[in-house]
Amino acid sequence: MAFVDHPKQEILRPVKSSFIVLSLTLAIVLNLLPVEGLAMTLWPDFVALTILYWCINQPQRAGISTAFIMGLLIDIGNASTFGQHALAYCIMAFVALVFHRRLSIFGILKQAPQIGLILFIGQFIMLLTGLLDGSQFPGRDFFLPSITGTLLWPFFSSLLRMPQKPRSDNDVR
């Protein structure tokens, strides 16, 4: 899949609410896929990526409350402490909302490292809650999903942007 570094000037069609819901649902399914071994340590947090995408691109539609609800659902699905993912996602969404104007000026490729930083913050919060709960440090591999998430960001956000692309046949008028 080829992706271009989108300039800000491109005018996108409005996003349907159903598409936001659909993308979040699919992200949960991707998060819950039973993967094993190396794939499991590298598997990025698709729900976090989707929340970040919508917070940056549709800050009026998706916000901290969306992040909170998604976090609770993932907590149930992952059998983790109730509220752990919710807390991390809320703070990630907050950071994304604060910087959404700045982030949307950058192209998709230049956004990636900044998204990586936000993902890292989220994982760090989850690590803190885990440590407070009495766990041991799970090892440096714990942060690998942030890196794969960063690498995946350009593809992922092009994919989410695809349905909003202006139709080329409408241009000829």
Binding site: A67, S80, T81, G83, G130
Partner: protein, 300 residues
Amino acid sequence: METAPRFFRHGPSLLARLVFFVMLSLTLMAVDTRFKYVAEVRHVLSAVIYPLQKLATVPIAIYDNVSEFFSSHHLADENAELLQQKLFDQGQLQRLQALEAENVHLRKLLDASERVEGKAVMAEILHIPRDPFNRKVTLDKGSQSGIQPGQAVVDDAGVVGQITRNYPWVSEVTLITDKDHSVPVQVLRNGLRSVVSGTGKEATLELRYMAGNTDIQEGDTLVTSGIDGVYPPGLPVAVVSKIERNPAYVFARVTCTPVAGVANNRQLLILSMLPPVPEIPAEVIELKPNNKKREKVGIR
């Protein structure tokens, strides 16, 4: 629908919303770990997420079916192998039945209470969370199939864990490797009793507070002792893999490897609840407040 365009409508400020939701999630975490009050909320959300969990296993099911289809020429071999295994198991079973009858007879002679054999429910692993902080798995049977918290879960090799939470269609198993989980065990070789605790790391258990001169060797098999009233006695739990006896410390460091593993198979057996343990003798009851305190510490 709305009078003012969406662009002009602002709720509470971003920071206020953040503070509200952060406080809410912190409260939820505290309530969930300490008081277990949020069961209803959990049940509702689990009903939402259950179809998605099911959907997530579809690719694996398709993969299994396809690989089964292409490997059907192995079936004859597999069948022969299974028949042989069955013959072998049958022989063992006949011996077991004889032993069981003898055991019942001897127990009657000794006037001891009979051991009740439980039934088991087969369940499949629905999801193995990627959360490194707690060792849990989700099974595809829940309270609709009569699964209750406290039931022991085993695989073909030994003890896997214990049901700790049940939803209508799914249930959560805390594995024996979880940092908050302990199993009372006995060394098969000499009957020494102890408690094996999880470490939170994969495939590592430890026997805590074993004196340096305890009669325990590397390679010893640990089986459940059954004194907890949760795990039926005699199920294999772990094998002692490493013992460090340092004269500078009072206790030896005994590391064990669990014999069962959720990584190896997708089907697990949920054993039925054991009959309630007999009443605690009178002199132990005085110690009860102390015990309760310890339990609370354990939950944390």
